[in-house]
Amino acid sequence: MTLVLQAVVNGLAVGLAIIWGLMEMINFAHGELLMLGMFGAWWFSTTLHLDPLLAIPPVALVMFGVGRLIYTLLMRRVQRGETFAQIFATIGLFFFLQNSAVAAFTSDYRFVEGGLLSRLSGINLHLAGLSVGLPLLIAGALALVLFLALYLLVERTEFGLALQATSEDREAAMLVGIRPQRMFAVAWGLGAALVAVAGAILANFFAAYPQVGFPFTVLAYAIVALGGFGSILGTLLAALLVGVVQSVTVVYLPPAFKDAFVFASYLLIGLLRPQGLFGKF
């Protein structure tokens, strides 16, 4: 059960990539932003001796700025071009961020110690005959809250509607007074902040190191496609599905096949429903 929950938490964390799905963009540096969030929590807890969970607000603020900066300096310039230019720009960003992290923090594995979640480890809740670790339960709840906040923001606020309108028809959005570049800049900021917060939560369970991000990026890509680009609830369900598939797979097969079955289920669903589970187009 712990295994399933951990996989689900991972899935939820990377499923926040949906914000790029909403913009019809693919961000190959998604896992690197997650990695920066992990390092942020680690740095916060080792230099300031505060709980890594308290790092969430400052990490979110800083990464919001980083996301905006990435948009204005890089993505705005390639956005009008072909999809290829966007993909290669984010791949470049991936290498840049990863190697910057190596330069800044070295490739050592960093562990967050003494946090609230690690002190709670060992405490299990017994629910209906299942034993669940309390730290993971808290992490899962936090991830769910993030998802809910994103859902409400995109579906229930004027900003979210404006963002959807911009990604559907840029010119029409401009005609009704939406400034697309500003929308995209804020969306990039939000995306970076959300995934970095997820990273700060995951830092309680995994070591932080510069190469930690790539598997998460690949998984994020699959989860967003599985749920359908543009559907937040679809992504949520896909994240749960991926978590369950991963943990069931490792029971019966070598752990190396954990991701293989996630992708096999993507292929299966993708071939039956090419637009993803809940995709609109």
Binding site: F84, I87, Y221, A222, D259, V262, F263, Y266, G270
Partner: protein
Amino acid sequence: MPAPALAAAALIALALPIPLQVAGYSYFVTVAFLVILNAMLGVGWNVIGGWAGQFDFGPNVFFAVGAYVAALLAVHLALSPWLGLVAGVGAAVVICAVLTWPITQLRGHYFAIATVAIWMIAQPIGATWELINGSRGLFLPLRPATGPLDAVVSLRFPGRSKALAFYYVILVLFAVTLVLLRMVDRSKLGFYFRAIRDDQEGAEGIGIDSRLYKVIARSITAAVFAAAGVLYAFWAPSWAASARCGARWWAPCC
């Protein structure tokens, strides 16, 4: 590219490694070998990515297929790498066609992720399959070449001549690839690929089967990757090191 520039580039490519080799910098000749190898992968990817306009993240799977097929034939049947090249390319094309056909109904991002999916499924298979020795990698049998002809036939070059010889082998392979792809570019096939990239519905409207030609485009890419993979497999064993247990090679991308 205008003819004089092409001739100059060819001349530089042919002459460049010789002074380096003579001066004893065979490391740089090895770097040049890897540069040409990567250039070959680049022009190969250009077929599916550039001409047909489909984002393909998983051609490295076929690099591994070519390398493993040729290496298996060399280990078990003592087959020459040149026959291994033919077999590896053939196997990669067949496997690519079978795997790509179902996913060609996906478009854009979804096609791209499907190629990632195939790569991610191939990876643990390669790492755990006992036939190809799992993640330990295959060990090619080592024996010295009996003469210059045998060296060329079996791609076993002694000592420091190895870097230079492999450089020219990959250069020839690269040139052949360029000529063949130029023919594809100028044939109907090339026009079909670009028509699908620019306007898939329009291309289908004038009777181009977009799924079939996407499969053909990706199979051409797979063939180029497999050819490079075969050569890489026979280059990777190091003659100096670990002569007792045979040298180890592994597929770097996959």
